[in-house]
Symmetry: C2
Subunit: 296 residues, 2 copies
């Protein structure tokens, strides 16, 4: 299974995810809604969440069949809808995303809000096909996704984020915010992948720990990149958290300690993989390295 | 089962739904998100959708157990989130709903958007408990709800609604818009109830027709009330569709023909119930009458 190198594996997975998203995000949705949805999710993004789903599914021999691909696309739809809503004027008021005008700049605020709403529903539609995925697994995937995306996960984290503008947070509070805002869906991606195959209870817990560490590491690195890189490289407005007076790992820990923290989280993630006793966790190892090493 | 009269039945169901929603919509969600969610869904609304779920479940002997109650609460969460987003300044910009300030007026636009987003996720969380509802039924309910709420249903209808401001629609286009915008979730409510029990294929189709007719009837009556009633009675801003220059059944058909059309749709709904050959459709009959007769 590990015959191809990591970059080739990523490219192959991303092609498959892109084709599936293109097939499932409906061009024919009425009154321009389909165009706005497709603009918001196709042709862009690092697709880290789908890669985590697919790598975790491979690690538990669950990558055959449609379930893992559907789960990969569903988490990406949730992620993409959250970006659309997050960029809107009443939230972060951002005009640039993945190097392109944001959805509300391109299609108007009302259409952007509806596109996000429809993409959340579509995520659950993708998880519940008439055939191709056992009903028990459909229910499990819906349960994991709903909890990752909702008040206890991503949406709750965004509420804390909103309330924290201009507020001094200690590291624990910052960790709690990111645990929900970014971590929940990244961990959810790993667990949705794991649900597609056979994971022992011990492997499940280890993968949950892996997802947790990866989720925090991702946010720490994001905060570092926000201050060290230019907008052209990021494809989104750089320094925006700093300008919005939002607490970040860099503002709380300082740049050097933040970099050190990211490396420690990678070690935690790799230790969890080793605890899983799964025979082949190379893709998940590669993804942990990819998260931490992306240009910081 | 029909020992209690319709009004008593409604009150008992509504009490149960209100208690369940109050238990499931989390006060403890962070940073005020829980308060905004609860404000948006508790203590208000006619709860027509939950009543349709529960009446349909009763008609197919599916009202035992938790599934129907969970489905009833899930559709109400979707309905309530759609109202929160619909009321926002970038959509209908409405300040009054159910006699109270709208959620964005009370909590700010960002929190209102997040509350709606979290409520959509919560609907799917409510449908996928760890126990109490068979997994196969969980998957079926998620599938029905996602399709009713998404691009092919409610969200798609709202996109048409947005695009139709100031546009002259013929009756067919108006019907298509409402079919999605309001009809899909009302029909979805009936079918989610029907999924909780044993419906023959013929009964399923008949209930789908019933839900379709009820859905359109509801919108026709809504359009009539929008021009014939004062804001105080409606609990929301009256005449707003007229002022927003949106096409309505009244503007397209005229008031008398719209009233006649509502009565015809009731007849269609009742004819469908009779085709279902279900032994007891009294609650569904009562609900059809309630939809058409509400003060117009």
């Amino acid at each position: 299974m590990i015959a191809v190198d990591f970059e080739s594996w990523c490219r192959a997975q991303l092609d498959t995810v892109e084709s599936a998203l293109s097939a499932w995000v409906p061009l024919q949705a009425p009154a321009g809604l389909g165009q706005a949805m497709r603009y918001g999710v196709l042709d862009g993004g690092k697709r880290l969440r789908p890669l985590l789903v697919l790598a975790a599914a491979e690690a538990v021999n669950g990558s055959d069949g449609e379930a893992a691909l559907r789960a990969a696309c569903a988490v990406e739809l949730i992620h993409a809808y959250s970006l659309i809503h997050d960029d809107m004027p009443c939230m972060d008021n951002d005009v640039l995303r993945r190097g392109k005008p944001t959805v509300h700049v391109q299609f108007g605020e009302a259409q952007a809000m509806l596109a996000g709403d429809a993409m959340q529903a579509l995520a659950f539609e993708v998880l519940t096909p008439e055939q191709g995925v056992p009903a028990v697994l459909q229910a499990r995937l819906c349960a994991l996704l709903a909890r990752s995306a909702g008040h206890a996960g991503m949406a709750g984290g965004q509420a804390i984020d909103l309330a924290s503008i201009g507020v001094t947070l200690d590291e624990q509070s910052l960790r709690d915010m990111h645990h929900r805002k970014t971590g929940a869906l990244l961990q959810g991606s790993v667990l949705m992948g794991a649900a597609c195959g056979q994971a022992s209870p011990a492997a499940w817990l280890a993968l949950a720990d892996y997802g947790d560490a990866i989720g925090l590491a991702f946010q720490v690195v994001d905060d570092i990149l926000d201050v060290t890189q230019a907008s052209e490289t990021l494809g989104k407005t750089a320094g925006k958290d700093q300008h919005a007076n939002k607490p970040t790992y860099v503002s709380v820990l300082g740049l050097d300690a933040a970099r050190q923290h990211a490396r420690e989280l990678r070690e935690k993630a790799l230790a969890a993989l080793s605890r899983s006793h799964l025979p082949d966790v190379q893709r998940l190892t590669d993804l942990a390295n990819k998260v931490v090493d992306r240009d910081c």
